[in-house]
Amino acid sequence: MLIVSIAWKNVWRNRKRSLIVIIAVLLGTAAGVFTSGLMVGWVKQRTHSLVYTETGHIKIHHPDFLKNEELNLLVPHVTDLSAFLDQQPAVKASSERLKCMVMAATSRGTTGMTLQGVDPIEEMAVSDLHTHLIPNTGGYLDSKTPGSILISDRTAELLKIKTYVLTEEKRVQLNQNGVPTSVTDKLTDLDNVRYHTEKRYQRILSERLTAEEIRKYGSALTSEAIQYRLRSKIICTLNAMDGNLVSQSFKVGGIYKTTNAVFDLTTAYVLKSDLAQLTGLTINDCHEIGLILNDEEAMKPLQDAIRSHFPTVSVQNWLEISPEAGILSEYMDFFYYILMGFILFALAFGILNTMLMAVLERTKELGMLMAIGMSRKRIFTMIMLESIFLTLTGSIFGMGVGWVIITITGQTGLDFSVIGEGFEAMGWSAVIYPSITPDFFLGVTLLVVLTGLLASIIPARRALALIPVEALKTDN
């Protein structure tokens, strides 16, 4: 116990020097913890979005459907399968979907996409897409309103359903939101002029406003000008079950936006009954069953149970559907520790230097300690503890600072919109909410102790190499 007490007191012999090292460790640890928190939040959001918006925990298909999404590749024995799933306590909700590749067209644009025919009640229990609806852009699908289609903001832009238009009313709203009248007054001649692309609208703005005004208010002027032409007609054309080309007009009932640009661009929703009628299938048919489970741990056992009862279906979990997200999620812990390891490894050199100085300055004292009978083991322990204390003190405060930053930014989110397009194109959110688990702090603490230990080896060996009678002759 006395060794512990002496080691702690020794840390504070040269306050200034110790504080410099402690602050360096603090900053390094805080940066490492925060960066890890950012990565955790990022991956967590991606996997959450993947499971709860896009895929569900498990998807069931006809075995050939994923290779070739043809209308006739329906999930076999769907009635029995549904009954089986209803009996499984692990299953929280399921949704039977029809899926069909279509060509969607408006008078101004066309795009190819997958049309998903769903039962709104079932789908809302499996996917949180209804929470991604853009405010004031209609609503979710309603079984009482056939002929309605739910498209994404990005699809709306492609089909020119999303337009940019300023009105007197919108200019007043912009002034209330802090955009000066001197700016909005320059745009009065744009009132009620409709622009079909963001690029064109922004070019017009840049012709009228200074670069500084664009930098300050461009984003507000753009978002306020957005106007969706709800109830616009989209003609969807597809090959029906009988091989004939069929078309149907759907009215835009709502607009959604997720963080996955690819998903948004390729997915639109209609009522299952509408799609069944259009394709020539029945309401009881389905191409895909999406499942949400009560507990992710039950994923593999449930897959095995489904496979054993229905060997003719393909059962995939989200990790198999999106292996890249699965790998990230699975190995992320490893990455955090690698990151922290690198930071601490770099800091270890500073700690090593400080400890070497401390040993050098105490040569005579260490000689005296050996002379009066302090064993080499105890001297090694004392120096090792000094190094650990030095590292641990900085790290504890660093972890505290990192945790505070993560807690604050975890509430507010960090907006990476400037480079967010790139993220969203890969399915990752541009607004990240950092988060961290207590396990991580435990892991970091162990890494810190290990760093302290490693950094103490050379100074401790230097101390142990001292010959008491020689050390006692020195001036230090």
């Binding site: 116990m1 007191k9 020794n10 012999r13 009978g373 302090m374 064993s375 080499r376 006692l472």
Partner: protein, 227 residues
């Protein structure tokens, strides 16, 4: 009873390709409870002899037997343990641990001996009272005068209940008043606790107090007398 018996001790240093004989065939016996001063000019081998007796250095030849144990045959690890339990050291420049209080400096050696806590507490307080520092137990070395620091060093050397105490020029850095006080204290401890003191010195006042004087010159004992 003989505490220390030295037989034909030789210590040779290699210095710049030259061999310097620091201790030259010394034979010596120190009895229990002696208050002995080793004197001689600089370079006569006083400190070397004390280092050899204290097990801090190893001889080239000869034996040092402490209470029937030949310490020259011990490994470095055994010597550390031996010093901890058998020898007390008082150094010229006090060599206290600066981050510890007077109390902690004295208690430290007993902690190393793994003595029970109540015993450590009792003995530390007793010794510090004995050396007249009962009211400075919580002072750190930098808050004490040179004389007070050396008294803490003596208390530390006493604390482990050693067979003998080696003091290398203990008064060299002290003024005359502090020297007087320290010597009186060491003499009292020697008489009261029957602890053997062996010190090197140039100081005439120390020599006056010593009961036995051993004179070294060029590594040889040239005179050895009791007063």
């Amino acid at each position: 009873m003989n505490v220390i018996v030295i037989n034909d001790l030789v210590k040779i240093y290699d210095s710049n390709a030259m061999q310097v004989t620091a201790i030259d065939h010394v034979n010596l016996t120190i009895e229990d409870g002696e208050f002995t001063a080793i004197v001689g000019p600089s370079g006569s081998g006083k400190t070397t002899l004390l280092n050899l007796i204290g097990g801090l250095d190893t001889p080239n030849q000869g034996q040092i037997i402490v209470e029937n144990v030949d310490i020259t045959a011990m490994s470095p690890k055994q010597l550390i343990e031996f010093r901890l339990h058998n020898i007390g050291f008082v150094f010229q420049s006090y060599n206290l641990i600066p981050v510890l209080t007077a109390y902690e400096n004295v208690a430290f050696i007993m902690e190393l001996q793994r003595a029970p806590k109540p015993a450590i507490e009792r003995r530390t307080k007793d010794i510090l009272n004995e050396v007249g520092l009962g009211d400075r137990m919580n002072s750190r070395p930098n808050e004490l005068s040179g004389g007070q620091q050396q008294r803490v060093a003596v208390a530390r050397a006493m604390a482990s209940k050693p067979k003998f105490i080696i003091a290398d020029e203990p008064t060299a850095n002290l003024d005359s008043k502090s020297t007087e006080k320290l010597l009186e204290m060491m003499e009292t401890l020697n008489q009261r606790e029957q602890i053997t003191f062996l010190f090197s010195t140039h100081d005439q006042r120390v020599m006056n107090k010593a009961h036995r004087i051993i004179v070294l010159e060029d590594g040889k004992i040239v005179d050895d007398y009791r007063k």
